[in-house]
Symmetry: C4
Subunit: 225 residues, 4 copies
């Protein structure tokens, strides 16, 4: 009983968190209409909490978030889950350290994805958050495991919490849903700045050792401990 | 009596819907000042509901929406209807499946229209919503049927619910006014992303069969059933 | 007595109108910090109402608007008037049909001004509102009549209510302050769209007769009569 | 006692001011997530007030601002100060006329910084506020005095209150925190306008004497006295 009650409280709290985090996607204009979503893993359970499919951001409530198992089957919820649930479930199954996943088609990052071109690490903020270039994953159709597999295989070779899926958009991961949302916000910000820098010439490179040094400090010293 | 009362209730509800949907045009910055509008067909009646001409978006009320017949003549309303009413009425007369029409001069879509260049389908989101390229219609002056005819003839050869009218702007259609607004929002979003992708090189093409597969799934599986 | 009371009521009403119209400048992001302003002529009086200098937009009130004569001398007001007052007073002195003037450094319009390049009329919306290209005025220093003279001389050869002052920004005029604000909003909108169209090629030209036809209709038929 | 009470009142007032000024950074979209900050010197004390590290802008309160000495050591505050505190403390130690410092990664300014290219003074607004080009400082890692030294040395050779730190972002200074925020807002505005002007050609230069004349007038005549 106590264990079940704890799980209930955790899921209730994650429903609130996942619902609320969608407001960051609209605040930073990473999404239009209903095209983007946030999910969170239920810790120590093979479950995730995700946005319902095709529901407007200002209609989201903790109650209409959908709880699914890690194969994307609905466990609790009256609405169909996001059509990206299968891809995100695949990520949770294969990356046990991931606690949150975000998907957007944010403009500048998706423009790099349309050309199939990684974003080069030419900003200290990029070194801090992404530890190097933001990589490009394969073109993949929705409907089977190919998007999920593309995300996992691409991120396996990178420190970046963001991947640009070719001709599609961005997926980001994090230890929490909030960290994944932060990565989505930062990804669009650096995608835009590097794009604009490139419009009038070539950005200056940053030395690999400096990238490593910035990444280490930011991951270990920045923020409140 | 009952039939008339039903029509009254339907029109009242469409006045509210059409009025409210204009807030999506400003929210997504598809329009400035008074330059853009939404209309809806009154089902099973040869009538439409549309924005009044030259009235600021924050002055719109359900009451000042204008009801016209499908030749653009005012049937109910104290204000002159949008100067785009004739074009939209033409669309309703010739496309019986259309329940809503939207017109904007949204920036990036209008930039493609100024060059007379279709937007190539290089994003999965574009395949989903538009099923291919977004086509360009002819240059047409306001004042007779040429805009309406240009819209209808161009859309007849496309799955796209959006058409870029040359040197002018965007018209979108949908089974409902809300669907037409969604198409207008998505049109500007993909116009912007593809533009930005093109600024630094060539976007990678998507195979026609993949476009078909994405379009079919999105039209039939996405969202709540 | 009655005449003076009428003037008082007119000025009070213009203080409110001029104050309120600044909210359109911030809404459409035509200005940052305190860099832009609106003024209105007091009809049948050699007076104008204008923003105080260097005061933040959210601190503007009808009471802190400044009333000046048409040589820029303060007639009523506790604060120094906008540093653009002399230029705007010059316009009112030399263009008796002008009832409102607006000045901004809106981004895209100012970018054309920095290159000293008129905005070509390649959009129907531009033909409607500006009746042709938006012209460029001379480089002029603040401090004497040169800005005002540059505006008046440039607009004398154009139907456009907007002029791009070289390396500086935009001045717009109108029969009312509201019309001048509309011209400032539309000027930035078309400056942006034409810029973006030009980034990937050449916009298609519009025939001069079509421009004339669009301009005539818009000036005489659009909106509520 | 009285002296200490005065210091207390000053610090209380600066906590409010510094907290409130962060709202200008988000209003003008100079920052995302937590990536940017404002600080103020406590007059006549070797102290500064600064944002806490990694705290979201809508969680800032006067109480959670951090008071540090001019070597970045916390004197009063329950949270760790911004990771930019050392750099800003260095500026206060070496530039006694500076009362406020701001740091952002605003998009267009950072794009110039990524190419290591100063922003040329081709706008009257730039001459007014910056008195010439906005200069570029060296690439510098966080963790010792190199960022602070880079700022101070670069600004020593310029009238500009803004410096673009290579591959990094913007630091601005001012006699007050508010003036430094204004410089950060204006820096991004001119960075954007000059960038856009350059996309389609070369902006026209402004004569050095004209720049001097504009700068002198703006610094001495603009605003309320």
């Amino acid at each position: 009983m106590t264990v079940l009650a704890d799980v209930d409280a955790t899921i209730r709290s994650l429903r609130e968190e996942v619902c609320r985090l969608h407001a960051e996607l609209t605040r930073y204009e990473l999404v239009v209409w209903t095209a983007g979503n946030v999910s969170a893993r239920v810790p120590d359970r093979d479950l995730l909490v995700i946005k319902p499919s095709g529901v407007a951001y200002d209609r989201l409530t903790p109650e209409n978030m959908v709880v699914c198992d890690l194969y994307g089957r609905v466990v609790d919820g009256g609405l169909a889950p996001s059509s990206d649930t299968d891809a995100q479930a695949y990520v949770y199954r294969h990356m046990p350290h991931v606690g949150g996943v975000v998907h957007t088609h944010s403009t500048y990052a998706t423009a790099w994805a349309a050309r199939g071109e990684p974003i080069p690490c030419v900003l200290t903020m990029m070194a801090d958050e992404f530890g190097g270039d933001i990589p490009v994953g394969p073109f993949a159709l929705i409907g089977d495991d190919s998007i999920g597999r593309g995300i996992v295989e691409t991120l396996a070779h990178s420190r970046s919490p963001a991947v640009l899926m070719r001709n599609h958009g961005v997926f980001t991961i994090g230890p929490t849903a909030r960290a994944a949302v932060k990565a989505a916000v930062m990804c669009e910000d650096v995608a835009r700045t590097v794009h604009i820098a490139r419009q009038l010439g070539q950005p200056l490179p940053i030395d690999t050792r400096d990238i490593d040094s910035l990444y280490d400090r930011y991951q270990n010293v920045y923020g409140q401990r």
